[in-house]
Amino acid sequence: MAKLDTISEIKKNSDVSRLREIGIIFPLFFFGLIIAIRNPYFVSWENIRYILLDASILTIVAIGEMMVILTGGIDLSVGSTLALTGMVVSMLYKDMPNFPVILAPILGIIIGGICGAINGLFVAKGKVIPIIATLSTMYIFRGLVYIISQGKWVNAHEMPEGYKLLTRAEILGIPILIVYAFITFLLFYYILNYKLIGRSIYAVGNNPQSAVYIGIDKTKVLFLVYLISGILAGLSGVLYTSRFASAESSAAIGFELSAISAVVIGGVKTTGGSGKIGGVVLGALLLTMIVNGLNIMRISPFYKLALQGLMFLIAVIIDSLMAERTQRRYRRR
């Protein structure tokens, strides 16, 4: 009897989390409608394509950030990792234009991976709390970008054509950048839902103590999530510089906030342990759409940051209120 109870309870809970995902689709359409009424250009093919392209890089970074937040941590260094990787790789291609372009994403993954591994070592091995570890590396990596570039830009004409084509090519009419994001989504959807390591990430976030008791190597899992976050940020660094055809030392400042917002708006709990990857993708889309809408309605881009913060706060507050309701239901039993 008791067992049956828990099962129906679990089902009810999963219903609630599904509700949360639907809860993002609603504002997505609501805001979409408002912006479209103000300016019909918003729903033109050209603009939708543009939104999807913009959301692609954010999605890739946010998926990495999601891994970290699932374990109850946070990675503030993704923006700086992105800028550092983008700068190093594009400087390399500026000096050696004949270096095979196909290696650029791999270079990005390696450099980003190193940055992520540093975070992972600090958090998993050194037991430094995530916010402090990654706040430090956020400033350290950003400082390194300034030092390496000496404040100079890598401009469009200094980049080899192939490098710029990395995000401009199309496969069957679909921009390749969207394909990258989609592949990343599928890969991590599979890992998170069907692989042992994916379930371990959820377990560590849900209850670190019992995760250790059932034989999960917590240190390994923690290290891995920061590594993944670094790798995806590094990959995005290459894509970012290729897409905007320039690398500058202040690139992607505040990008970590966008990524974290996308994750939290997507329904991942800040304390870890629950949240779905589909929600994160929708969160990234919603965020990108609203920023794009601001541009289209000719509202000053200076509103972006405040709006992002506000949406972030609303998302965490809604989650907290929902958790309170479920708790109250438990107590009534």
Binding site: K127, L135, Y139, Y146, A306, F312, I317
Partner: protein, 318 residues
């Protein structure tokens, strides 16, 4: 005969400060000059003021990463009002109020929705800085009031003692006294050690949390006033990155990042340690980006070292 000196964190900090003085005076002949040394304190007094309140926050097991953004918002409000012709002193008062409100909002949201301080202050980190950008866009506002500039740039009488240093010392005494000699101070430690137990023993944890966050808001406002007075101009990105320096000051001062331990003397010493370290690096013409990197490394390595010591201690005990 055995020398009976207990090696405490504060002693280590003190030795480090002396070390910095010795090394710097060898490297640069301009370093060891009492007027310069005193004058230089003005550069980090606003960090000092905020780090006092940040110490409370971290001892109570919380964190506030929105302080620098709160400063930005406060400064932006001051700037907009001043540009519209309001007297700068009235602007400063309103700024102080807004910063306090900003802090209160953090505390209220954390308590009301039972959320971790990281989640809320990360949100307001974006929101407050965003409001600063909305208000000022990319413009700057200059301040030309002599009397206002005295706050951040003035000296006590004809002595070389900066006014802001005196204010900082007064506040450091007040904060130290409250933390170490009053019930309220003990509550802060208790909450940091075991919040649940505090609730069960009837301490009004939630009220204290709101008070602490309101307090750090007020101190950010005060810091903003000194900072704007020192720079005599207001920009929307004013003080950005300051949260790292403030948290680094507190953690380097021996306050455990997990809450529940630390003291004010350490926080004061580490402020001067970091301040003079920055000063001597500046004298050596080291670019500010490198200084930030050093700061970040220092913060992480402090925690790594204290974690390592803690682990050793546990091993010895068992």
């Amino acid at each position: 005969m055995k020398l009976n000196i207990k090696i405490t964190w504060e002693l280590i900090l003190f030795i480090l400060i002396i070390l910095i003085f010795v090394i710097s005076s060898f490297l640069s002949p301009y370093f060891l000059d009492i007027v310069n040394l005193l004058d230089n304190t003005t550069n980090f007094m606003e960090k000092g003021l905020i780090s006092l309140a940040m110490a409370y926050i971290i001892i109570s097991g919380n964190i506030d990463i929105s302080v620098a953004s709160n400063m930005g918002m406060t400064a932006a409000f001051m700037g907009v009002l001043h540009r519209a012709g309001t007297n700068i002193w009235i602007c400063a008062l309103i700024g102080l109020l807004i910063a306090t409100l900003g802090g209160f909002l953090n505390g209220y949201l954390i308590v009301r929705f039972r959320l971790p301080a990281i989640a809320i202050t990360l949100g307001t980190y974006a929101l407050y800085r965003g409001i600063a950008y909305i208000l000022l866009q990319d413009t700057a506002v200059g301040i030309e009031s002599e009397s206002f500039m005295y706050l951040g740039q003035g000296y006590i009488g004809n002595t070389p003692i900066p006014f802001s240093l005196v204010i900082y010392i007064i506040f450091a005494f007040i904060f130290g006294f409250i933390l170490h000699k009053t019930t309220f101070g003990r509550y802060i430690y208790a909450i940091g050690n075991n919040e649940q137990a505090c609730k069960f023993s009837g301490i009004l944890v939630e009220r204290i949390k709101i008070i602490l966050f309101t307090l750090i808001g007020f101190m950010s406002g005060l810091g903003t006033i000194f900072l704007t007075s020192r720079l005599s101009s207001i920009r929307p990105d004013i003080g950005s990155g300051l949260e790292l320096e403030v948290i680094a000051t507190v953690v380097l001062g021996g306050v455990s990042i997990l809450g529940g331990s630390g003291n004010m003397i350490g926080v004061v010493l580490s402020l001067f340690l970091l301040g003079y370290l920055t000063y001597s690096l500046n004298l050596l013409n080291i670019p500010s980006q490198v200084i930030t990197i050093i700061l970040g490394l220092l913060l992480v390595s402090t925690i790594l070292i204290s974690n390592f010591i803690e682990q050793r201690r546990k091993l010895v005990r068992s």
